[in-house]
Subunit: 207 residues, 2 copies
Amino acid sequence: MTAMCVGLADGRRQILGLDVPGGIICGMSTGQHSGAWIEAFCDTVLCELELQVAAQFQADNAAPSDGMEVIANLFSVIHQRLERYSSHLVTLGRLDSTERVTLFLLDMAIRLGRPCGQAVFVELPMTREDIADYLGLNTETISRIFTRLKKSKLVQFPSRSSFSIPEPERLERRLPLPVPHHMSLDQLETFLSTLHGHAASFDGVRQ
Amino acid sequence: MTAMCVGLADGRRQILGLDVPGGIICGMSTGQHSGAWIEAFCDTVLCELELQVAAQFQADNAAPSDGMEVIANLFSVIHQRLERYSSHLVTLGRLDSTERVTLFLLDMAIRLGRPCGQAVFVELPMTREDIADYLGLNTETISRIFTRLKKSKLVQFPSRSSFSIPEPERLERRLPLPVPHHMSLDQLETFLSTLHGHAASFDGVRQ
DNA sequence: CGCGTTATTGAGCCCGTTCAACTATTGTGG
DNA sequence: CCACAATAGTTGAACGGGCTCAATAACGCG
């Protein structure tokens, strides 16, 4: 699991977005450095894809029928990112702290969760501070809302770094917007296999 | 001037981004409707570009030398949008109300302003409520901060819908991050002329 | 001018922050 | 394995920034 981060002059940090294992990070143009960096919350393997490479691949295989496939997939990936950012803008701009945390837990459940009957169990690979920096809050607030959710039995916290949601629909009903369900893994894997062999790969590990 | 907007079930609104006249709105995929809509704050002409059209254009003119031009430009446009969203995420997540408003005024100065010597004069085509919904605040807060900036002589408000900044650098020094300077109009116009004749155009007017 | 809309200003409140103390967990060396 | 330290998380008290509600003022338009 990785985070795209931005820092302010006085040390404040904002996490722009989170990516689950198997996901595609995008928006890092090699040219102008926007001051953003990537942090990994667990051991991670990164593959870097130059847009040029994809474009060349596209040009080489320019059969009128399927020549657009790579480009179309790339657009779809970027579009997903745009959608994620959009919904996170709403989260930061218009949701209160409880709504933010609730949405976060449900989103993690969708992206990382293991279904156990109706419930969902999630192993959380990040600290309270990381969550806070993602949601525009601080660690104490995260902690307080977690205990509130625990007391109301909407969420269980078996350990410090895991939780489970007995009735996801009931939690979702507390939100003023549907939980965004974005891309399925199938699409992603199709895309990745299309690019197989066209990415320069290397390892990156943190901690 | 247009705004991309999203609404919550209880009426809250968040403006995701603003586009100046001559700019390129993007991220509206025709397929799944994400619940977003576009509002125009002044008389506006919209041109709709189907990605398919651009892709076809690309395929038709697939001379190995310049065939990538359209696609590359499209990527650059989407990337600009991604950068804008990124910096706005930081704004909503980690800046306090004064910083948000200051950044907003400087951004408008860059994108809409008429330089007058060292100063910049800006005609603002949106209401306090629109500004509030863009910055994740409410109208009263916007108003209060405007009067505070006026009293400190950092900003002048000759009329309800215009302002001018005597010393932009001094204002900028109050921010914990550089004001993002994104795309120049030259690039945009180059791109638009590339697409000339390939966009289905229609008029859209509000109010 | 008179009316409706938009903006400003004030008083009071509440949510989320800050600061501090405490608890629980993880890791390390003896 | 335990002792201990370092880190991460929780909880409480008090503060304050931004919100809510209400009244007033300024503008735009017939």
